[in-house]
Symmetry: C2
Subunit: 240 residues, 2 copies
């Protein structure tokens, strides 16, 4: 944790000693009463936290927040075929670190439907991985996340003006880096599930204005392909 | 495993049932006598393997190899501050998948010396992760790997004509994507260890002709930064 994130209501009550942030403050940062640390409000400003006092049950913290305006999220939407939960955990954390604005895990013909009923989703655990990624990256902004909706439904809800590119190792003629609209705001990049797009998926994507593009001849893990795709977009925007 | 890799001597003797490749052939691919599978020679050609027979102890395989020439590795050398073993495992696998030519894990002022005595290195386990990454990516080429040498020693052994860029969140003025020589053959990219470069490291790097460049304002895990850096280079070369 390079930054410790809090939801606004959490800043107004004592932090239980059992909370991982309390353990981080006492066991990793070795905070004592009077110590300060880098803190952020989820979706809000950065600032400093101060440990005021601690007892067996909780830590009492106070905060001062910077008046600086909150930066807008970088306009990039990622659609990914719903992966196995461990892959989804890695994607949630890394896409949050890299700063995509929205992340939609979609059902396609070749996704495994049971993945949508994982406790990752049903317990809200998914939010924790977003926060871990943001804390690593020293940001307070979390991506918007959805899961389990059909590819067609997510596509139909995209802003009409967005540029659209789908990654495909098999039928794409050009690399992602050659897609002309990478640097324009309003871009959606779609990655297939582990087993790839079906013919029906490709027809839907093309009908919705997606251009197919590839990430080279090598078959990459979904997590690696997602990081690489975002890096290619950030490079085109000279952010990386 | 999208491709099953063998060292040449291994293709001339039965494959023990205890070998992970034997288990993959029988339990995942459900091969039976007569079944064929995608095979490769490490550092060599692609081809097809055929399961001829199997008994309780081993599988008997035969191979036919394509006459196609072996592609040269993509000219990119990566230097990384020696990380904790789990991070090194991920880097070995992913850099092999992405196809860097050489990967040097170096000792710097802020690396933890004990990491170099991990069993990852002493037992040769590191090679297994390279092979896993290559099998994922459907390639027979493995990066050249070294570990534990000092940064200065690795730098001094680089080809004099190589372009050189070092990633640094703190002192770099421009993003990696703006570095002019990304697309030229003979490029070395250096990433610091988890705790960053020291002042001495930066002095050494600058004296050796490295330009400092950044990957944005967000603090990324070393594994993520390495994948992103390679993606930025591959994008400049229109390979991704």
């Amino acid at each position: 944790m390079n930054l410790i994130l809090f939801a606004l209501p959490e800043t107004q009550i004592p932090l239980p000693r059992s909370d991982p942030r309390a353990r981080h403050l006492t066991e990793v940062l070795h905070c004592e009463p009077g110590s300060t640390f880098d803190a952020g409000l989820i979706g809000g400003t950065h600032g400093k936290g101060t440990l005021r006092s601690m007892d067996a049950a909780s830590l009492t913290l106070t905060f001062t927040w910077n008046p600086a305006p909150i930066p807008a999220p970088e306009p990039l939407t990622l659609i990914v075929g719903l992966p196995r939960p461990q892959t989804a955990r890695d994607l949630l954390r890394e896409m949050s670190s890299l700063g995509v604005a929205a992340l939609h895990f979609v059902a396609t013909e070749k996704t495994e439907p049971s993945y949508a009923s994982s406790k990752l989703w049903s317990t809200g655990e998914w939010q924790r991985h977003l926060i871990t990624g943001a804390e690593q990256a020293f940001t307070t902004l979390l991506p918007e996340v959805t899961w389990g909706r059909a590819l067609a439904e997510v596509i139909s809800a995209l802003p009409a003006a967005d540029s659209r590119v789908a990654l495909d190792n098999y039928e794409a003629a050009n690399p992602l880096s050659a897609f002309p609209a990478l640097a324009q705001p309003g871009l959606t990049v779609a990655l297939g599930p582990e087993r790839g797009w079906s013919a029906t998926d490709r027809t839907q994507l093309r009908a919705a204005g997606f251009t197919l593009a590839h990430l080279g001849t090598r078959v990459l893990r979904v997590e690696t392909a997602a990081i690489a795709a975002v890096a290619v977009v950030w490079a085109a925007r000279r952010r990386m």
